[in-house]
Amino acid sequence: METIIEIRSLTKRFGELTAVDHLDLTVAKGEIFGLVGPDGAGKTTTLRMLCGLMDPSEGSARVAGHDVARDSRAVKDQIGYMAQRFGLYQDLTVEENMVFYADLFGITGETRAQLTAQLLRMTRMEPFRTRPAGQLSGGMKQKLALMCTLLHRPRILFLDEPTNGVDPVSRRDFWAILYQLLKDGITIFMTTAYLDEAERCNRVGLMHKGKLIRCATPGAMKAETGSATLEGAFIQTIHAVDGATA
């Protein structure tokens, strides 16, 4: 399988604190990878480094063949990034938000019109195209944010807790869209706090105190710990690590 994300000894320090500690990981093309772990484990920082928003203190990462620190502009053309609190312009309409992001990527004219229409259809957001983003429901905002990151046809999608605070129905809709994208060959790298979502990933990585302590398929993780649920498997793994260091 073709490797699309290659992380080598990636480290980020903020003063005394080591937020990400020598992380090694590879993600294959077309895979959906879930990064899980307690708050403050370093998931968001990892994601930001992979998107070229932060420079690593140590180590390196190659995304879609480009080094994230040295060649961040090339990386940005290949990826879509949806931050935990995705910034939509509340006073602009759904369409204006989409046009703004499309234009920044240089996607204009006929291509833009086609893509916008296609995305609106896929997310069933067509009826709301002239509504200001501030007046959308939580689930619809999430969909709009996703559309804005897809306008330049990225090969990899980075999602930081994309369904946080979204109702179950909207979450199901959202996943339906993600599956559609996977079918189109897009690689998805996400962080999540919902373990039922982690269960849907091809592989999950468990982060704890800046370290990647386990990385496997959800099934393998459960089998190793003999736990019936992924939740139980995570808690056992974390406790085992904490016990060993204590």
Binding site: M54, K76, R85, G87, C148
Partner: protein, 383 residues
């Protein structure tokens, strides 16, 4: 590059003009300031209220009184008869000054002896007080000269009857003519300064706020993963407010000319050009503020922190020459100072580039420095 700048610029304008609050914020404060400074702030002393305490009650004291009322600068509002009444008139602010003619005023002057007229001035407003005192002083001095002449004449005539004697008494009088603002309207002084004030407020605060708002709502992080370069983002964010600032200059100038009849003796194009020079500084300062503030409140407070001293030390309201010498040197660091000098020069003196080039050069150097320092701080990374 320009396409992306234009995309951001268009978005800024849509946002700025869509929100009613913002629309109001862009154009109402300039008008309010203009009206306040044009109509309300008036440092001229006209019809000062004075109390007239005449303890002499003679034709001579009345003739001095006539000179006061005839000057048009004073209105006599009361005639206190006792010290207590004088006290009360000043305490209550009924009179801004009290003139006291001593008993024996006419007798002493008739005998050729010196006599004193007392002026009691309410000094709570030092500016008004000094003006009132100097107006009153000049009326009394004039009266005194007149009196002297008359007595001289009488003396000469009585001493050597019949002989031809020159009646002239040598006199030196100061005849001042005021240039550029002949009637000394404080309005002419203040209204052009409002232009500097407004550009500063609009560009400094709005630039800082609009960038920090993107940080607050999280769109900044999103913009960072687009191909937008920092310089493009910077220009896209500042140009709309530069445009608004220039529109405000036009607006204020038109109102100043039509409503307040402020003379515009110089070139309007030069004024606009200098406004652009000044804009570089205030936009740069706004950018700088945005790099050090995380929230809109911080940006707001920061802009007050910057603009208040900048105004106090600009010569907009308080003449720089009256400041302590050390502070006077400090004002050379203040870009607003140069722009105020330029604006007043163009409006009131009709000054051109030949006169204003030092100020223009100072603004240019200042603008380029501030702008490039802020640009260096304005990165597109999170940490």
């Amino acid at each position: 590059m320009w396409e992306r700048i234009f995309v951001i610029l268009r978005k800024e304008l849509i946002q700025a003009l869509r929100e009613p609050r913002m629309r109001v914020l862009l154009f109402v404060p300039p008008m309010v300031q203009l009206i306040v400074f044009g109509f309300a702030v008036n440092l001229d002393v006209d019809h000062a209220r004075i109390a007239w305490m005449d303890m002499d009650r003679t034709p001579e004291s009345r003739s001095l009184r006539d000179r006061f009322t005839g000057s048009g600068r004073f209105d006599i509002v009361s005639a206190p008869g006792s010290e207590a009444e004088v006290q009360r008139a000043l305490d209550r602010g009924e009179a801004q000054a009290v003139l006291r003619i001593p008993q024996g005023f006419a007798r002493d002057t008739a005998r050729g002896r010196s006599t004193e007229v007392q002026i009691l001035v309410d000094g709570t407003n030092s500016n008004t007080a000094s003006l009132v005192a100097s107006y009153a002083g000049s009326i009394i001095a004039e009266y005194s000269v007149n009196l002297m002449e008359r007595q001289q004449r009488v003396k000469v005539l009585t001493r050597s009857p019949g002989s031809a004697v020159s009646m002239a008494t040598p006199q030196v009088t100061a005849r001042s003519r005021v240039w550029f603002n002949p009637d000394l309207y404080s309005r002419n002084y203040f209204v052009p300064g409002v232009i500097a004030n407004i550009i500063m407020m609009v560009t400094l605060m709005l630039t800082a706020l609009s960038i920090v708002r993107e940080k607050e709502i999280g769109t900044m992080e999103q913009l960072m993963v687009t191909p937008v370069r920092p310089i493009e983002l910077m220009l896209g964010k500042t140009l709309p407010f530069a445009l608004v600032g220039l529109m405000d200059v036009v607006l204020v100038t038109v109102v100043a000319l039509l409503v307040f009849h402020i003379p515009l003796r110089g070139s309007f194009l030069l004024l606009l050009f200098c406004a652009v020079l000044f804009l570089m500084t205030s936009l740069g300062a706004g950018l700088f503020l945005s790099t050090i503030s995380q929230t809109q409140q911080q940006a707001m407070l920061g802009s007050f922190f910057f603009s208040t001293p900048a105004f106090m030390l600009s010569g907009f309201a308080f003449p720089i020459r009256n400041m302590p010498v050390a502070v006077q040197y400090l004002t050379y660091l203040n870009p607003v100072r140069y722009f105020i000098e330029i604006v007043r020069g163009i409006f009131l003196k009709g000054a051109g580039v030949d006169v204003l080039w030092p100020q223009m050069a100072a603004l240019t150097i200042y603008g380029i420095t501030v702008l490039s320092l802020s640009a260096m701080r304005f990165q597109k990374k999170l940490d």
